[in-house]
């Protein structure tokens, strides 16, 4: 990567032990602003754990996580998840965690942070938040319409198919005006056309807002068409990194996936 590239996130020698078991070992990655970065690796290689550390779910046992907040880098390891969210880093969950008593549209609407109607004093005076709410509703509906999913707007998560749950989980994340999105297996379970559409949507968001994506994915064929750069984890260690075609041809990577 050339010198002029601005980075938005970096991990430095991040390690994580769970009760003595090493799950991540000295992982250092740098993420360029405006990039779509793939994070791949076999099951159990530590991808989700790395997301958990970046988003404040876990504290790293060693190392640090740096994030460019405005113009300088700050350490974000050790912050609470909601503080990290307020720095406009948003993650989605590998196992969707939709709010079961909210409809799909409400699940999308809950995402934007600092809504006016979220304070008690404004909540009781609906005039203060109605305009903002209407705009959010439009945005949410626009997103659902793009995926031909308007008909699920008023369904509860329990009434959805597995693929729709996964899609809503990802779309919910995309409702936030984030600078950095961490998507954990957004394509899992999606049919081919929907998966393509989602990837195109991600590219579109990136192009319009210069935001950054890190995407964990097992559907490598689809992922490789979309990403600019790939990191490969294996047994908690960084095995390789590079442009998609370089990584795919890397014999170590092939071995990690296929086995000896």
């Amino acid at each position: 990567m050339s010198k002029e590239v601005r980075h938005i996130l970096a991990t430095r020698n991040v390690s994580k032990y769970f009760e003595g078991v090493k799950v991540l070992e000295k992982v250092s990655i740098t993420i360029p602003e405006g990039g779509i970065i793939g994070l791949i690796g076999p099951n159990g290689s530590g991808k989700t754990t790395l997301f958990n550390i970046i988003t404040g779910f876990h504290v790293p046992s060693e190392g640090e996580v740096l994030y460019r907040a405005s113009n300088e880098f700050i350490r974000i390891d050790g912050l609470n998840p909601h503080e990290i969210y307020r720095l406009r880093i948003v993650r989605t969950f590998q196992l969707p965690r939709l709010f079961h008593s909210l409809t799909v549209i409400e699940n999308l609407l809950v995402t934007p942070v600092g809504q006016r109607g979220e304070s008690i004093l404004n909540a009781v005076r609906w005039r203060t938040w109605l305009e903002e709410e209407k705009n959010l509703v439009k945005k949410a509906l626009g997103i659902l319409a793009m995926f031909n999913k308007l008909e699920i707007a008023f369904k509860y998560p329990a009434q959805l198919s597995v693929a729709d749950i996964k899609l809503v989980e990802t779309l919910r994340g995309l409702m936030a005006n984030a600078r950095l999105y961490l998507l954990d297996e957004p394509l899992a379970g999606l049919d081919f056309a929907t998966a393509r559409r989602l990837l195109n949507f991600i590219k579109e968001i990136r192009n319009s807002y210069n935001v950054t994506f890190i995407i964990i994915e097992h559907r490598i064929d689809l992922l490789m068409e979309t990403v600019d750069y790939v990191y490969v984890l294996h047994n908690g260690r960084l095995l390789a990194s590079g442009k998609p075609d370089e990584v795919i041809q890397n014999p170590d990577v092939v071995k990690a996936y296929v086995g000896e």
Partner: protein
């Protein structure tokens, strides 16, 4: 003959007071997920605050020496009766003040309590609050200036100077229903707002909500300030209605009565809470009438209460597992969406 009007006023007064508790319990426990098994703590605190202000302050302003004639003695009570029949403006003023103080002090008490309790696992919150209620009761028992185990008598009903019990009862009822209406409107608006949605998301999955930037402890603390404040006001209303407080009035059973109301009515709906309060307070008020027929009954009426409540709960829950009234998503989103769908096609 049974005095129908008197019965209605009495029942509706109890209903208004308990409905305030039930509506706030549905907001804090049904919707925000703070399991409050210590509802009586806030109710009792408000009652004692109301009792103290409406006696000590009233006496002090009127120039009675509260050290010589404290309100829990006969002289104090006699002085209070005199003041409350002769000086309406003062009584009403002090009463209004007591409502405000009760709201703020009980609210702040709830707010501060959330600091330790919300950080313990959610399963422990209920029991921590239950203990708070019992501890407060222990404190009242041991405090002489609120009358210890005997409590306090002679707390003036603020409309007593009207002279006609029915009329002053009716005025007090109107006031209580107004406060209930206010509680209901605030709760209902919160539910239909983005805050209500956030509260439900926190109850469903607080970790996911945290990951969506919601400051879960802070939001819960604020809600608990509000609901505790209203519970305190209900306590003050109660103390001035029955004109007395004593520690036995604020046992944990009160908490579970309110829980029964929201379980029957539907714990996620303030209307449900109100319906639950209506049903259970009616039963509570009818039971004394049945008990007065003691000599004609083939059984002691003491056990009727738990039997009745248990029976109603069982029947309702078999038919409506989530209570009589269940949650609906806010209306206007639905209409906004239908409009947009129409535009799109």
């Amino acid at each position: 003959m049974i005095d129908i009007t008197g019965f209605l006023i009495n029942w509706l007064e109890y209903f208004a007071i308990y409905a305030i508790l039930a509506v706030t319990l549905s907001l804090e426990s049904g919707i925000s997920g703070i399991t409050n098994f210590g509802k009586v703590a806030f109710f009792g605190l408000g009652a004692y605050l109301g009792a103290i202000i409406n006696t000590y302050l009233l006496l002090a302003i009127s120039g009675v020496d509260v050290v010589k004639a404290p309100p829990y003695t006969a002289e104090g009570v006699i002085a209070l009766i005199e003041i409350s029949t002769l000086n309406p403006a003062l009584v009403l003023g002090v009463f209004t003040l007591s409502i405000l103080v009760s709201f703020i002090v009980t609210g702040v008490f709830g707010y501060l309590l959330t600091y330790p309790i919300i950080r313990v696992g959610s399963g422990f919150v209920g029991f921590t609050l239950l203990c708070v209620g019992e501890v407060l009761r222990g404190i009242y028992v041991n405090m002489e200036f609120v009358g210890g185990t005997n409590g306090m008598l002679g707390i003036p009903q603020p409309f007593i100077w009207l002279g006609i019990p029915m009329l002053s009862g009716l005025c007090y009822l109107l006031l209580s229903v107004t406060i209930l209406a206010l509680t209901y409107i605030v709760t209902d608006r919160i539910l239909g707002s983005p805050l209500g949605r956030t509260l439900r998301s926190i109850r469903d999955d607080d970790i996911a909500a945290l990951c969506l930037g919601k400051d879960v402890p802070k939001i819960k603390s604020k809600i608990f300030f509000l609901t505790s404040g209203f519970s305190g006001v209900a306590g003050t209303l109660y103390a001035c209605y029955v004109s007395s407080v004593n520690p036995q009035m604020f046992v944990t059973l009160v908490t579970f009565n309110v829980w029964a109301m929201i379980i029957i009515g539907g714990s996620e709906s303030p209307i449900g809470a109100i319906i639950g309060a209506l049903i259970l307070t009616l039963i509570e008020r009818i039971l004394p009438l049945i008990a007065s027929l003691n000599e004609y009954l083939p059984f002691t009426p003491d056990y009727l209460r738990p039997v009745f409540i248990g029976l109603i709960m069982t029947i309702v829950l078999i038919k409506y597992p989530r209570g009589l009234i269940s949650m609906k998503p806010p209306k206007f989103i639905k209409s906004a969406v239908e409009e947009l769908i129409r535009e799109a096609s």
